[in-house]
């Protein structure tokens, strides 16, 4: 690494940390990841232990026998909501992160090939992009998950195969712009092969916009996973998920608002963290990308 590159690196980091929302976002995501990793140690109680005598207790309720406090209350089966939220972060991250990684890699590769080579592959990829925009995503995901059966693996697969066109569209746009640049023409006139130009010269330029897009997509996947859970097509019980907790709370809105309120807050905070992070990354990596998310 040259001194210049290092200085640029430092300048970008400074830009990121000056971005107050980005730092908040990074903090939120790190916390959620920590909760997911150490859920067994952090959660005050077992997320699945039912205590029928302690059902529907409000936040801050102290069990008179054990003295344990249910900080966020208990649900209709007497399970501790705080513990369930902490454990629920696992499903949220275990689905959204792999789904985003797989679809980003797939979309980026196809976008690179489409933008660089054009022709038939470009037509096919771009029609997939159009198709993806034509469907209400949630309807498609719901129907496929219902057919394949809701499981962790199936949900990740469905999310990945239905969202890659988002990345392909952005990548292709960037490739079209890069292909016309002088350094690409210089490489070609030096006799570099198409393969080499594509992977060594064009591909690195695509990474930043895809990274920015991916962090916004993490937020979207977290919300969609919760939506599936809410509609009863998420990871099946007894695994605690934020979406299914919301669905449980729906029947008790009148008497126990906390069952639905807190898991929703967890979904929103995590999604916001990821969105804030994306906003900061965009400013850090390339201020001219302000419209990537569209």
């Amino acid at each position: 690494m040259t001194i210049d590159a290092r200085a640029g690196h430092r300048r970008r980091l400074r830009r990121f940390f000056r971005h107050r929302l980005a730092v908040i976002g990074l903090g939120i995501m790190t916390t959620v990841a920590g909760l997911a990793l150490f859920a067994d140690h952090i959660g005050p109680r077992s997320p699945t232990a039912q205590q029928i005598l302690l059902r529907l207790k409000p936040p801050g309720f102290a069990d008179p026998r054990s003295g344990k406090v249910a900080w966020l209350g208990t649900d209709h089966l007497g399970r501790d909501i705080l513990s369930r939220i902490i454990h629920g972060s696992r499903v949220s991250l275990v689905i959204s992160l792999p789904a985003v990684v797989v679809s980003a890699l797939l979309g980026m590769t196809l976008g690179l090939l489409a933008g660089y080579h054009g022709g038939a592959i470009e037509s096919v990829v771009m029609r997939c992009v159009d198709l993806q925009l034509a469907f209400p995503f949630i309807l498609l995901a719901l129907s496929i998950v219902a057919l394949m059966g809701p499981s962790l693996r199936n949900i990740i697969i469905v999310f990945a195969i239905t969202t890659w066109p988002v990345y392909a569209r952005t990548t292709r746009g960037v490739v079209l712009a890069l292909r016309a640049q002088e350094f690409v023409q210089a490489a070609r006139s030096l006799g570099a092969s198409d393969q080499r130009i594509l992977w060594r010269h064009v591909a690195p330029g695509v990474v930043s916009p895809v990274l920015v897009l991916a962090s916004f997509e993490v937020a979207r996947m977290i919300i969609l996973e919760a939506a599936l859970g809410f509609l009863g097509l998420g990871v099946p019980p007894p695994t605690p998920t934020w979406g299914s907790m919301l669905a449980d709370g729906r029947d008790y809105l009148r008497d126990a608002w906390w069952i639905a309120a807190f898991p929703g807050l967890a979904i929103m905070l995590t999604a916001a963290g990821s969105n804030f992070l994306g906003d900061g990354l965009r400013d850090m990596l390339d201020p001219t990308l302000r419209n990537v998310e569209g």
Binding site: L131, P136, S143, I144, A226, G264, L265, M268, N275
Partner: protein, 307 residues
């Protein structure tokens, strides 16, 4: 102009054809036997065989698709397994409710989002601007189903101002429209802001100011009008997302629209209805995008010139 119209229409038709492939594949390419899924666990082998035959599932895939396409273009998706009437009928009778909800949400989101976006652009980098950007990101991070539930807790359960669910008078529309609209506000704020910033830097805005026009007139009459064009186009493209949001909003509020009927059909494995609903929503999105593009062409002479 005519050339563009023809090209754009052809493109939309091609897209709709691809949509039929996906809708067909939805049922036929995913693992599991559709007939036994539809009939449930109690079905006898004879019933399954009969339904397989009735659905044409014992034919080769290509024949099945040709049959499906031939019927789909005529709007025939078969009979709803539960309702025992044409699936198209089941879906179409719910369409007005969904359109009403979407229109209400759109109106609410525009009324709130546009002014905030415009003020953010005019007072760029002010406290207001930072605040509304944070607000926009928060809005985009909010799960619609949760917002819906919380609105019910506050306005229906505690304050008792508005009904919990269902459809009826205008008071039934308020909470669902606000819920679905909030989903769009963030996007509208961001789009309006960046589009306004673009326009405010243009020569004609400077000219308007140089003429001595009041700042208000410059912003509303000269800048905003032009800034709206990209905002409207991009919002048109988000229609699929809005319809997706409507599916969840309808489920939360038991709003009798296409979304609710589809989710119920998914639970009941009533696949003719699911296929029909997915197809109809795609037709809606594709045709509205077609209309936005064509209108854009008719209304904006600058784009026509660049053809």
């Amino acid at each position: 102009m005519l050339g563009y119209l023809a090209w754009r229409s052809l493109h939309s038709l091609l897209l709709l054809w691809l949509v039929t492939v996906v809708v067909f594949g939805l049922l036929h390419l995913t693992p599991g036997d559709p007939a036994s899924i539809m009939l449930g666990e109690q079905a006898t082998p004879e019933q399954i065989r009969d339904l397989r035959h009735a659905l044409g599932l014992d034919e080769p895939l290509v024949t099945q698709y040709a049959w499906f396409l031939g019927h789909a273009v005529r709007g025939d998706f078969g009979a709803s397994i539960r309702a025992q009437r044409p699936a198209l009928e089941v879906v179409l009778e719910r369409l007005p409710a969904t359109l009403l909800l979407t229109a209400g949400a759109f109106t609410f989101a525009l009324c709130v989002g546009l002014p905030i976006g415009v003020i953010s652009a005019v007072k760029r980098l002010s406290l207001w601007d930072h605040g509304s950007m944070a607000l926009a990101l928060m809005g985009q991070s909010m799960p619609v189903f949760w917002l819906g539930l919380m609105l019910i807790v506050v306005f229906s359960v505690h304050l008792r101002w508005l009904p919990v669910s269902g459809a009826g008078g205008p008071e039934h529309l308020v909470l669902p429209a606000v819920t679905l609209g909030t989903f769009l506000i963030g996007l509208i704020i961001r789009l309006t802001r960046s589009s306004m910033l673009d326009v405010l830097g243009q020569d004609y805005v400077r000219t308007a100011r140089a003429k001595g026009l009041a700042e208000r007139a410059v912003i509303v009459r000269h800048a905003l009008r032009n800034a709206l064009i990209p905002v409207v186009t991009l919002l048109g493209l988000q229609l699929g997302m809005l319809l997706g949001g409507a599916v969840i909003t309808e489920t939360v509020f038991a709003w009798p629209g296409v979304g609710m009927v589809t989710v119920t059909a998914i639970y009941q494995h009533d696949y003719p209805v699911v296929q029909c609903a997915v197809f109809i929503s795609a037709v809606l999105v594709v045709s509205i995008n077609w209309a936005v593009d064509v209108l854009y062409h008719v209304l904006d002479p600058r784009i026509r010139a660049s053809d």
